[in-house]
Symmetry: C2
Subunit: 326 residues, 2 copies
Amino acid sequence: MKKVVLPKDLNGKTIFVAGAAGFVPGHLSEFYLKLGAKVIGVDNFITGSRSNAEYLLKEYRNFKFYEMDIIHELPLADLKNEKIDYIFSLASPASPIDFAKIPIEIMRVNSEGTLRLLELAREKGARFLEASTSEVYGDPQIHPQVEDYVGHVQINGPRSCYDESKRFAEAMTSSFRTKYAVDTRIVRIFNTYGPRMRANDGRVVPNFINQALRGEDLTVYGDGQQTRSFCYVTDLVTAIHNVMFSYGPGPFNIGNPDEKTILETAELIIKILNSKSKIVFKELPKDDPVRRRPCLAKLQSISDYRPQVDFEEGMIKTAEYFKSLA
Amino acid sequence: MKKVVLPKDLNGKTIFVAGAAGFVPGHLSEFYLKLGAKVIGVDNFITGSRSNAEYLLKEYRNFKFYEMDIIHELPLADLKNEKIDYIFSLASPASPIDFAKIPIEIMRVNSEGTLRLLELAREKGARFLEASTSEVYGDPQIHPQVEDYVGHVQINGPRSCYDESKRFAEAMTSSFRTKYAVDTRIVRIFNTYGPRMRANDGRVVPNFINQALRGEDLTVYGDGQQTRSFCYVTDLVTAIHNVMFSYGPGPFNIGNPDEKTILETAELIIKILNSKSKIVFKELPKDDPVRRRPCLAKLQSISDYRPQVDFEEGMIKTAEYFKSLA
């Protein structure tokens, strides 16, 4: 496949980021602001953080922000005369803790929200990128996961509001490509961590770090031998950027293939923080995936992408961020 | 599981049928009209047939019909003072021929449409049944298919606008059950045939019958050894009825487990119609499922459901219907 040529700067380009006050989209917005693009961010703050949006508004004059729910509206009057070049669909809540709390909102943003963004892309002639997820593979039965794998998702399980709605968002993206020739990309994001991630969203990295900082025991679910492949957020942003400027629709797995057990992760965090916390074990929740590791061959066939931040370095930076909040 | 007790009549009950001008929902509406229920049908005629709606309006004074798209509206002003007891979500186009033509409409009715019906069920305290499909299993790798099977669906294939949106509709249904305690049921419909099915929708039974009636060759895709399990429409309606009045949410497979090859089906139709047509073979389309057979153990554990109409008898009745149109 043709190799991606990354732009040197994006002066004069306009980028639309749905979910801009979230963890990954906040970093992505900053990346494009630094490249000189105008970035239009929207968020309804259902899970996004006001401080992320305020930070970007304070630091970057080329950042514009609208508080709104893309299910119901887009800033259409304001966008009427605006040229938009690239649209990022990153508005879905993605933390396990959200699945039981706001399942309908998650399903609506991935269906109605994605639809509205695709219609905007069609109208503006913009390129559209859907931020899908490794969750489309469910509890995968093959390792590492390749993009052709159809996945192993419980249709009516506790995670299905997210897993199924992201599969739906991908299918909707492909349908707009096939039916209306919208120029689309799909990435499947694996576990990501880094500064500015939500503190209380039930994900393992902030959980462990905050438990260690408070001197509490670190809670490992199951025997801790289940694995995740953690990608530092700046590496993830680079991967998204590579796909947006690539020539193929994807889907592309993006992340870091460096697989770690949950137990190793807990031990590393205790070490980094010089913590006296112990590790305690609790029952594994239903449908929690046992292994996750992206096969990056497809992404690497079209780009020079290699993760740059190793596990310990990334964890130290992330721990410093959480310390600074305390 | 507790066995279903079927009501003797439904006088005084109101039933809402989305997609009432379609093949299966038309028969279902008539079944409930005969049981004395008031039936409120809606359809936008995107694939439903005006003659189905006109037939019901002419024959049954207890049938009320609204032409509308449930994506955009429900007859809410009219329904304001109406008690609704049972809601059937049967509005999705379901024929392979629709997948390339109206993928976005299919995805919207299964997301936004299903959402509106679930909201109506919540508001009215009605029981809700989602008509899902064997397509949630994709091209299944286990036979027969049991309800726990996670399926083998291509997320971004030519059938995914339908397969993924039905998985989404199921997950949405389950989310309303979990989050808002809406009383829900899910059925997964396998291949169905019978009088009043669409003539030109790319399905194998009307294709074969019409080819035979016109003296044309019958087109078999692939080698004809792929199987389907065809259920006669009145048996299917009985199965849906059993599930609506059951005590568990499902999903329940419904259909007829009598598996036939496509080639056998072609041969039977030629025999029934005394046709001189020959059988010709063409290339199998992408993602066409190789085998389909429902395991009915779950449905039969809660009901006395047994299909009543055998293959030859059902095909004769269906052929008579298509002859009467010619």
